[in-house]
């Protein structure tokens, strides 16, 4: 059994309630931080811990915190990004639904470290029922004196608000999230300035993922060095993985970073192998926007080393033979899966979610979807694969926010690793219905 930090008490009955949560050591970090630690010390501990942003980009959290501008007399904000919209990712929902107090505890401690008097949870509209759970938990915390004025008798006061979004993927991008939080249309801002300088209402703001903030209490209680011992290399700590697809035991797993991908897929502790004993075909390791990898490349890197569940190992080989850990949306595909159809689903999603501000993403996502649609329907034209490749290349890196990249990467990787399948769809449309093309490709 690997070490559990976030999900340690997940099976304790009634852990949703404040009393049970406190009996299991909850809110100790608030007490410790507020009464015995200076804000800078906490930031320092988080830096030492090597904790990296769990939302997808993997940016070191301590570093992000230390970038926060601290002008005199200006409010600072902590915003928790609970707009978990990446297809294949559902870890934050699980965490907030089952054990909401760990997030609130993390928020109080982190806000103290950042000097923020107010923090917000921006939660996606589809998680409305989770917002109710969070609000109930916040109310409990207020009643117990853990929120509000002079928390635990110290002179630190803090308020938490929950804001429900309307369900747009783009609002998970931090600047679009801030726009939406301000009540405007959720369009990403053009950076610079970054939120650390001018964020919510023009004030310095830190935007962190739910899981990141929920990891802070452990770091405060046990020290950054202790947290850094878990995991491997620069991928410290534990990570929640949302496992889905053709596996025997889909669900949210907390893993110690550094276990092998093979272990994660096949061991009984985690995914429990491929459904119905079929063969593994491909894996999307970190949510729909990261490159898809075929079975041989996800289990072993190009150099022949076993691939590990960590930021570095998964991205080993760059995008040519590697992928990314992303947000931890681990989607497994067995041999019966059509990669082209799967890609069409992704492309349709990104087309639907593009905000429409910048030209490459607005026009390119729609174009890619249309081409993929015609390929899937059996009307693909010769040269469509090359055209798709060219379009994605012209979107990637040329957009305001990472949505353009997120739309381009799956297309690029699917063509890179499964080009034959695209050609099969285009050259033999009559065979699509019978799935013959897939069986042949596998054998």
């Amino acid at each position: 059994m690997g070490k559990k930090i976030l999900l340690e008490h997940i099976n304790v009955p009634g852990i949703k309630s404040l009393d049970v949560y406190r009996q299991n050591g909850g809110y100790a970090s608030v007490e410790k931080a507020l009464k015995t630690m200076a804000p800078d010390v906490i930031v320092e501990e988080v830096k030492k811990s090597g904790l990296r942003g769990r939302g997808g980009a993997g940016f070191p959290t301590g570093m992000k915190w230390s970038f926060l501008a601290k002008p005199e007399g200006v409010e600072r904000y902590l915003v928790v990004n609970a707009d978990e919209s990446e297809p294949g990712t559902f870890k934050d929902r699980y965490l907030m639904e089952k054990i909401p107090h760990i997030l609130i505890e993390g928020m109080i401690t982190s806000s103290f470290a950042l000097g923020a008097k107010t923090s917000c949870i921006y939660i996606r509209g589809e998680y409305f029922y989770v917002s109710r759970i969070l609000e109930a938990a916040i109310e409990e915390a207020y009643a117990a004196g853990l929120l509000g004025k002079n928390i635990l008798g110290t002179n630190f006061s803090h308020d938490i608000f929950v804001q429900v979004g309307a369900g747009a993927y783009i609002c998970g991008e931090e600047t679009a999230l801030l726009e939406s939080l301000e009540g405007k249309r959720g369009n990403p801002r053009i950076k610079p300035p970054f939120p650390a300088v001018a964020g919510l209402y023009g004030c310095p703001t830190v935007v962190n993922n739910v899981e990141t903030i929920a990891s802070v209490p452990y770091i405060v209680m046990n020290g950054g060095d202790d947290y850094a011992k878990i995991g491997i290399g620069r991928s410290t700590g534990t990570k929640l993985i949302s496992a889905s697809g053709h596996i025997n035991k889909p669900g949210v797993y907390e893993i110690e970073m550094g276990i092998t991908v093979e272990d994660f897929i096949y061991s009984e502790e985690y995914c429990g192998g491929i459904l119905n004993g079929k063969k593994l075909k491909a894996v999307v390791a970190g949510g729909s926007s990261v490159p898809i990898l075929p079975a041989d490349l996800i289990l072993k890197t190009e150099k022949g080393e076993p691939r590990l569940m960590s930021y570095e190992s998964l991205s080993d080989g760059g995008f040519a033979t590697g992928t990314m850990l992303g947000s931890g949306g681990f989607m497994v595909y067995d041999e019966t899966t059509s990669i082209v159809k799967n890609l069409y689903t992704f492309a349709r999603f990104y087309h639907h979610e593009s905000c429409g501000q910048c030209s490459p993403c607005r026009e390119g996502t729609g174009w890619m979807e249309k081409i993929l649609h015609r390929i899937v329907e059996g009307h693909g034209k010769h040269g469509d694969t090359d055209l798709l490749w060219d379009i994605q290349r012209k979107i990637e890196g040329n957009t305001i926010c990472p949505l353009g990249d997120a739309a381009a990467w799956p297309v690029a990787s699917a063509i890179r690793h499964f080009r034959a399948e695209f050609e099969e769809y285009i050259n033999h449309p009559e065979r699509i219905k019978e799935f013959k093309h897939l069986q042949e490709l596998v054998s």
């Binding site: 747009a168 087309h351 905000c355 501000q357 607005r362 174009w367 012209k394």
Partner: protein, 324 residues
């Protein structure tokens, strides 16, 4: 002050200048094209991505190149920065991509579009576009909406530069239009077909880089290159009254603001000057307007043609000498 080098040419500019502004100060052929940036509008730019450039050296302090291509209109210069525009094949290719994206859903109805001849998208497509489209799907359509008596809107031609939105935000007292919907279905519209009525709404026509917003009083009157631009002014209580008249014979066909060589309005004018004063007696004529812009619009102005020829010949001579 910061020293920046763009395509090998250096210039000292004040801190806070953007790469695009610095390039415009240098002038010449190496100025990145811009569709959504407008020098008189704050926070404009960054959307269309045509002005992207490569920063091959960040600054003297931090010489690392920037990892991605950056929009030159929204990136400020640093001391010692080195920028590649036309000298970078990567930039030119990305720009061709952007132009292709802008054109795939554009109706290409230039023969019936009043903007033809002074359209930024035409110029951009001419300079950076492909001869043939690779897009073989039906082009996007929108329902025509009426936004009032003076301005004609064709959403199909729009490239989403947000300049009209920023104009309404910054020079009128109330903005009633904006972006509706999302992605490639997004459109500029007024909510429930409200008319845009205020004294300065006409400036939206001038800032529109394409034919999405055109002057209803000039609709189908003449191609712009058959009209004669004149500088003129009148005593106006609302605006400076300094305009450009576009005449045919002795008839004033349209009134616009005076635009600089980048096609961007120098001063805003009011709707009274623009739409109601169509009699030559209303105006004090200053003389023919010198159009500096390199576009079809300036083609019937001999001075420009001659100047262009001189440059072209000089270039060719230089190339011959270089070859030898």
């Amino acid at each position: 002050m910061a020293k920046v080098t763009i395509d090998g040419e250096s210039i000292e500019v004040p801190d806070g200048t953007t790469i695009l502004q610095a390039a415009r100060m240098i002038g010449g052929d190496n100025v990145p094209p811009a569709m959504c940036y407008h020098s008189k509008l704050k926070t404009s730019g960054g959307y269309c991505r045509t002005c992207i450039v490569k920063v091959s050296k960040g600054s003297d302090k931090d010489p690392r190149p920037m990892p991605k291509l950056v929009p030159s209109c929204r990136t400020t210069v640093m001391d010692g920065m080195e920028v590649q525009n036309n000298t970078s094949p990567e930039v030119l290719e990305a720009r061709r991509g952007v132009v292709e994206f802008l054109l795939i859903n554009h109706p290409l109805d230039c023969p019936v579009c009043d903007q033809a001849g002074e359209c930024h998208l035409q110029d951009l497509g001419y300079e950076n576009g492909a001869a043939k489209t690779r897009y073989d799907f039906p082009r996007r359509k929108f329902n025509m909406i009426d936004i009032g008596p003076n301005i004609k809107m064709h959403m199909t031609r729009c490239i989403m530069c947000f300049r009209c939105v920023k104009t309404a935000d910054q020079i009128t007292d109330n903005r009633v239009h904006g972006m509706l919907f999302r992605g490639d279905a997004s459109e500029i519209s007024t909510y429930i077909e409200k008319a845009i009525v205020n004294d300065f709404s006409g400036n939206m026509i001038d800032v529109c880089p394409v034919g999405a917003l055109t002057d209803k009083t000039f609709r189908f009157k003449s191609r712009v290159w058959f009209t004669k631009p004149m500088d003129a002014h009148r005593d106006c209580k609302k605006c400076s009254g300094k305009v450009a008249l576009w005449e045919k014979g002795n008839e004033v066909l349209r009134v616009t603001s005076r635009k600089d060589k980048w096609g961007e309005s120098e001063e805003w004018i009011c709707n009274e000057c623009r739409f109601d004063k169509k009699d030559i007696k209303d105006w004090v004529i200053e003389g023919p307007r010198h159009i500096d812009r390199h576009s079809v619009i300036s083609l019937n102005h001999y001075e420009n043609v001659v100047a262009k020829l001189k440059i072209d010949i000089a270039k060719q001579q230089k190339q011959i000498v270089d070859k030898k």
